[in-house]
Amino acid sequence: MTSQIPALIIVVPLLVSLVVSLAAWIRQSLCYAAALCAMLVAWISAILVMGRVINQGVITYRMAGWAPPWGISWHIDHFNAIILILIATVALINLIATRSTAAREFEDRPGVFYALYLLFVTGLMGIVITGDIFNLYVLLEIASLSGYALLGMGSGRAAVSSLSYLFIGTIGASLYLFGAGYLYIATGSLNMADIAAILPTIEQTGVIQVSFILCLIGLFMKMAFFPLHTWLPNAYTHAPNSSASLIAPLTTKVMIYVMIRIVLFVYQPEFAFAEMDIDRVIVWLAVIAILAGSMLAWKQERLKRMLAYIIVAEVGYMVGGFWLGNTAGMTGAVLHILNDAMMTLCLFLAAGAVISRVQTDAFGALQGVFTKMPFSMIAFVAGALSIIGVPPTCGFFSKWYLISGGMEAGHYAFVAALIISSLVNVLLFFRVIEIGYFEPFDSHHHKNGQTVREAPLDMLVPLLVTAGLLIVMGFYANTLVTWIVKPAISAATMGGL
């Protein structure tokens, strides 16, 4: 029976999401409790799976009992096990933290909200866990479609932003599917391990190269890599708070995971780095992404919008670090996926707490929030320090690996971009802290007469836990690297590179 534990990660959220969408028509009050239980079970089973991977190595789970390549199989190694834990943690914390926000934002349909929430998480977990390139597409669409619905429910511009996200996201997913079709026509297989075994044996006719480019462009669209990032800021700024703080930390990071998985485990490093010879180009694009993201973030006047542009820059960190092509850079990229998800969650939750009390996130209205909401702002500062990369927080360590990877590859422009973007981040967050800490609280700005006070406990406790995790992950960064990140990368590269 223990061999079925991996299945629980997907099956429990899926089944419970269906029960929740039934319960939405019978008793709305059951929905939250059911969703919470499902996320807890998924979180515990993700940790159990991680333990088994560390002890026994790679787990292969055969769906419906058919052997690959005929059936669909899951392939769980260190890399996806840690991403599974990350998704479960972020979704669980956010579920607890946004309970009252969600009840306010979706007053007459919280049941359907929780059903879509669980389906979104199921989709992301399925993307991470699967070992089949077509199955990945289906789950990509599950996560995307529920994401469009969750983002589009906000007021004002949300629907337009979500619709343009839908257009770009669908083109991206379709291009990925097209690339997978090129792979299928050349190899006749859909299983990742099977394709990886076939690819070196077939003669090169340009089909594989085109499929590689198509998949990569599709994923770049989905992850908002710089020239294709236009959907992200609007979609995240205008979205409801309870869904923005779920989707912003996870979507881009999972897409970067998919890129790493496809490049390392399907096409393999020899082909992707040596034969295609596009790694320098992509690192240069990443440099532009980092600089442009930071500059655009500087121009924003609203907290959530500024954070959205910081995400664009952070995507540049991870893509660039990975395409440096050396172990330090890849370690930095993988570690930064984990850190960045937690930092983004922390900052978006803090922004959500501020918005729930101040009613807006325009910088002008944030005067004196430090005195009124001290604990929320402590968490905000912790997240900000981590984004900047100040030592006790986890952001420092991944940035350290990224910079040393850049030095090792001799790509000094990337190193310079990282440092410049850190300096810009210092200025960005100092501006917010200056307004919030040094300027006195101005009651004229809060004309609705409501007194601004500390966020409610159910919002504050998860927020402080997230901030604490940032520091804990910083202390244990070395353990994380030796036990999880190193085995994940060396399994893919066979110690080469």
């Binding site: 079925q4 299945a7 997907i10 099956v11 899926l14 089944l15 269906l18 029960v19 969408s21 039934l22 939405a24 028509w25 789970y61 055969r62 769906m63 419906a64 009992g65 058919w66 390549p69 005929w70 059936g71 669909i72 979706f106 007459d108 349909r109 359907v112 909200f113 059903a115 879509l116 389906l119 199921t122 399925g126 077509f134 199955n135 289906v138 789950l139 669409e141 599950i142 479609l145 529920s146 469009y148 619905a149 589009g152 429910m153 629907a159 090129y182 299928y184 026509i185 050349a186 190899t187 006749g188 297989s189 859909l190 076939i198 077939i202 006719t205 340009g206 089909v207 085109v210």
Partner: protein, 276 residues
């Protein structure tokens, strides 16, 4: 703008057309796509699952996990349309139109006026578009039962002929949509209410996922229908065949309900009062 778009798209097409030169010829039965994995399905599917329609066998068994999420995608579309569009508060100010059946005279009831709700002589009509065509109404009444019968046949006969849960479900949903178009939204909603549709949509996917989870409880992998042979007196091969039928029924229930649900929300712009 348009010329830039046209040139860039044309360039992209040219590159892609050039890349097709590396493909095996169209219709070549020795290409990798037609030999590597697919031969196994063609040669063994009947032995493994007792289903002559290879597409059904692969869809619901070998790649049943994909199909589970395919059904879930449909459910998500239904949930999303409801989530984005549904407005529970009725429109203000409200006036309703009633038609006197025999004479065709239209009655406008302003707010507060008494409405002839249970009258035999008056029928409520939509404000923007007033379909009143005896031929269409009677013809649709005539064909809908046969269409529904055909939908059930397509669902049940998916093992042997083209079709299956998805196609049958869509046809079944389309019959209710036809009813809503030929008469009006309210008369369709009297037969399949929004609540019933929503419950059926979730329940259909739950049937599918539940059969899969039952297989885990019986000691197999997720969706491994051969484990069902422990519960019923089937051979494992027949258990797979019957498992596929059960799954197809779940798909059909979910898909038909979601199609109706999406139509209700789109056609009435979320108010469920007046339709197309």
């Amino acid at each position: 703008m348009k010329s830039i778009a046209l040139t860039s798209v044309a360039l992209l097409c040219a590159v892609l057309i050039y890349s097709t030169m590396g493909f095996p010829a169209w219709g070549d039965s020795d290409s990798p796509a037609s030999t590597h994995v697919s031969d196994y399905y063609i040669e063994n599917a009947v032995n493994d699952t007792a289903v002559p329609n290879l597409v059904t066998a692969v869809l619901a068994d070998y790649r049943g996990y994909d199909t589970l999420f395919e059904t879930t995608v449909v459910l998500i579309a239904g949930l999303a349309c409801f989530f984005l569009l549904r407005r529970f508060k009725p429109r203000q100010p409200q006036h309703r139109l009633y038609r006197h059946i025999d004479t065709g005279i239209t009655l406008i009831i302003e707010q507060g006026g008494k409405e002839p709700t249970d009258s035999e002589e008056f029928v409520r009509i939509d404000s923007r578009w007033v379909p009143y065509d005896l031929v269409i109404q009677q013809a649709s009444c005539l064909v809908i039962p046969f269409l529904q019968l055909f939908a059930l046949y397509v669902i049940a006969h998916g093992h042997h002929s083209p079709g299956g849960g998805f196609q049958g479900g869509v046809i079944f949903g389309a019959t209710i949509i036809l009813m809503a178009i030929a008469n009006d939204l309210r008369s369709a909603a009297r037969r399949v209410s929004e609540r019933l549709g929503a419950l059926m949509a979730s329940a259909g996917v739950l049937i599918y996922a539940g059969i899969g989870a039952l297989c885990i409880l019986l000691g197999g992998s997720f969706l491994d229908y051969s484990a069902l042979s422990k519960l019923f007196a089937f051979t494992p091969v027949m258990a797979r065949s019957h498992g596929i039928l059960g799954v197809e029924i779940g798909v059909a229930v979910a898909v038909s309900a979601v199609m109706i649900w999406i139509y209700y929300n789109l056609a009435s712009a979320g108010r469920h009062e007046e339709g197309l």
